[in-house]
């Protein structure tokens, strides 16, 4: 209940703004992270002239895909006021099952297994949340353990692998093929975001996802079924993991229960960095898309500059803070911060009389 109060007041208590014409706030809402990305790319090109080499760009785009695809669905979830901590476990499990399926039935079965297992994972989460009323945080945290555990059980006799002999198979190509110089995995990610955008902004279901996240109670009185919409969100999360797995496993070729430890946090980070609010109701697929690339570009830049892992972390953390501080300073509650006033995007304070 309070999330709507707070969100609403936060929205209604936006500081009085300033100049007509260029509206920084509106611009930043839709293009903020994208512009940080552009700045970072320019910095990268200056620091590392090789940055724009075809091979490097392809590499960045190719490796972003699996994270991006799940982050797209996670944006739905966060806008809906929930999140899924089990996506890392899902990715591990779906990867293992997919590789086994490939061993049994080749590419077609592998594709079907990835999508099918992904959706099944999503259904399990959805059922726990809607039918058993387990809070999403605990339900998906519990299922993170369970999915990983199952993946471990399945790989007790060694990890699932794509054998080297299959290097030329169509399945393995998903991860390495370039179409007109663009990595296939990236194309898949762009398609996922495109479809995601249409579903979120142009369908009734998408509208209900956002509306419910904005105010669960208002949604209830508008006839939006909490259970249905939550189920939908968890199922598309599962589906996205299924698709992401195809772009992931065909690049890495192996999986077991430990695959992509900490994935959930990276996915949520991308969505939040992209502008999604964990309070629900707010988010942007353009932002998430840019955030995914932002993190990849930054990582690539730091690696190619030979920055040590510990300093990579420090820099990555600082960039996260800076990227969000720009927005934070803009929308923060008025008053109380000297720094904010110094950097103020607002007009001068009231002229004190006398």
């Amino acid at each position: 209940m309070t999330n709507t109060d707070t969100a609403m007041l936060a929205a209604s208590i936006q500081p009085p703004a300033q100049k007509k014409g260029f509206n920084f706030g509106a611009f930043w809402d839709s293009w903020g992270i994208a512009s940080v990305l552009v700045v970072l790319v320019i910095v990268a090109v200056i620091l590392e002239p090789d940055f724009l080499s075809i091979g490097n760009v392809q590499s960045i785009l190719r490796e972003s895909a699996y994270l991006g695809i799940v982050a797209c669905a996670m944006t739905f979830a966060i806008m809906n006021g929930t999140f899924d901590l089990s996506v890392g476990g899902q990715l591990a499990l779906v990867s293992v099952v997919t590789l086994f399926a490939y061993g049994v039935g080749g590419t077609p079965l592998a594709l079907a297994a990835a999508i099918g297992t992904g959706i099944a994972c999503g259904l399990v989460n959805g059922a726990l949340v809607t039918a058993l009323r387990v809070p999403p945080f605990v339900a998906t945290l519990g299922m993170l353990f369970v999915f990983r555990g199952i993946a471990y059980v399945l790989t007790q006799n060694g990890p699932a692998v794509l054998p080297y002999s299959e290097v030329k198979s169509p399945f393995a190509q998903i991860g390495s093929l370039n179409v007109a110089g663009i990595p296939l995995t990236f194309i898949i990610m762009v398609i996922v975001f495109g479809v995601g955008y249409v579903v979120l902004r142009r369908t009734g279901t998408g509208r209900k996802v956002i509306a419910f996240g904005s105010s669960p109670l208002a949604a209830k009185f508008s006839g939006i079924s909490a259970a249905k919409i939550r189920l939908f969100v968890f199922v598309i999360l599962g589906l996205s993991v299924g698709i992401a797995t195809l772009t992931y496993i065909t690049r890495v070729w192996t999986a077991d229960g430990s695959a992509q430890d900490g994935f959930e946090l990276r996915v949520i980070t991308a969505a939040v960095l992209g502008g999604a609010s964990l309070q629900g109701g707010k988010g942007s697929l353009v932002g998430t898309f840019s955030a995914v690339l932002l993190v990849s570009v930054l990582n690539d830049l730091l690696v190619s500059m030979g920055v040590g892992a510990s300093y990579q972390r420090i820099i990555l953390g600082c960039v996260l803070i800076v990227a969000l501080a720009i927005d934070g300073l803009r929308t923060k509650f008025p008053g109380s911060s000297a720094l904010r006033k110094a950097l103020s995007f607002r007009n001068k304070r009231m002229a004190t009389a006398g």
């Binding site: 002999s165 290097v167 890495v252 070729w253 892992a309």
Partner: protein, 310 residues
């Protein structure tokens, strides 16, 4: 990109080397002392040859491993040395290396049936066997009555560590012991501590402990101490790796033994093999089928720890 691969004729048969050779080394994770040593050995050997050296840190992430190693190949390295986080993820890397004609030498752990040119391994299974033999001898010497032992393993996904455990369990059981607790501490000291305490609560009369790495062994020893026992006299505690903390502990009677690998030596060895490959010389494999070159492991105990402490 593919300009500088292995095709050049050797400039001279002896140590005088070409200066335009670049060696790429993709390391498992530079957070760990073990790999820091391995990297130091590799780097020193590369530079001794007068070659260029590029390092990539996989940071314990299979995705980073594939992306980064492929990036090294894209940059045009002449040899790729890799200590893989996930040996089975070598496939796409080797595939690209083969496309570009770059030789690949794997360090430490391999498998997955990929056609790399050579692999340097320390004999993990044998290390486990040595640990078992030592525990048995020590138990007899101390006159412990119990035949119960504990094995604390690394994360289930760590292939190399699984070999240590297999060697240990097979050998210790053949010596008439019972493994009463066999749990994963996920390579983390803090988890090993709890596991050891719980194991002692269940079986207070444990005779020996083998942990798959030294941090876990030292943590287990601490748990034993906190439970009011002595980790060298009441229980025989053995670790694996030969990390500094284990050596210090052995010296201070806080740990019975550790099975030491020689990461620095492994690093040096990979570069020697690289030179041979570039010079088109033959490599002497310890196991030619698997293209394995062995790096022996040594058991460090109170008796010989002084030799290893710097």
């Amino acid at each position: 990109l593919t300009g500088c691969s292995t095709g050049d004729a050797p400039a001279g048969g002896d140590g005088e080397t070409k200066t335009d050779i670049t060696v790429g080394f993709s390391v498992y994770d530079m957070q760990y002392e073990f790999f820091q040593e391995m990297e130091a050995g590799t780097k020193a050997a590369v530079e001794a040859n007068g070659w260029d050296y590029v390092l990539h840190d996989e940071k314990s992430d299979e995705n980073e491993m594939v992306t980064g190693a492929q990036a090294l190949l894209d940059q045009g390295v002449d040899v790729l040395i890799i200590s893989p986080f996930k040996p089975d993820a070598l496939g796409p890397i080797i595939a690209k290396a083969q496309e570009l004609g770059v030789p690949v030498i794997v360090d430490d752990i391999g498998g997955g049936g990929t056609p790399y040119d050579a692999i340097v391994v320390s004999d993990n299974k044998d290390g486990g066997v040595q640990a078992a033999d030592f525990i048995d001898a020590q138990v007899k010497e101390l006159g412990l009555a119990s035949k119960k032992v504990v094995s604390i393993t690394c994360e289930p996904s760590a292939v190399y560590a699984a070999q240590r455990n297999i060697g240990f369990v097979e050998q210790i059981e053949s010596l008439g012991y019972e493994v009463v607790t066999e749990l994963s501490g996920n390579s983390k000291a803090e988890e090993a501590y709890t596991i050891m305490k719980d194991a002692l609560a269940k079986d207070p009369d444990i005779a020996g402990v083998f942990a798959c790495n030294d941090p876990m062994a030292v943590a287990a020893a601490n748990a034993i101490t906190d439970a009011g026992k002595n980790p060298t006299k009441d229980i025989v505690t053995v670790g694996y790796n030969g990390d500094g903390e284990a050596l210090t502990a052995i010296d201070a009677d806080g740990l019975s033994a550790t099975v030491a690998q020689d990461p620095k030596g492994m690093g040096t060895l990979t570069v020697e093999l690289a030179k041979k490959l570039l010079d088109k010389e033959d490599i002497e494999f310890g196991n030619a089928d698997e293209r394995e070159v062995y790096q022996p492991v040594t058991l460090i105990t109170k008796a010989n720890v002084a030799d290893f402490l710097k």
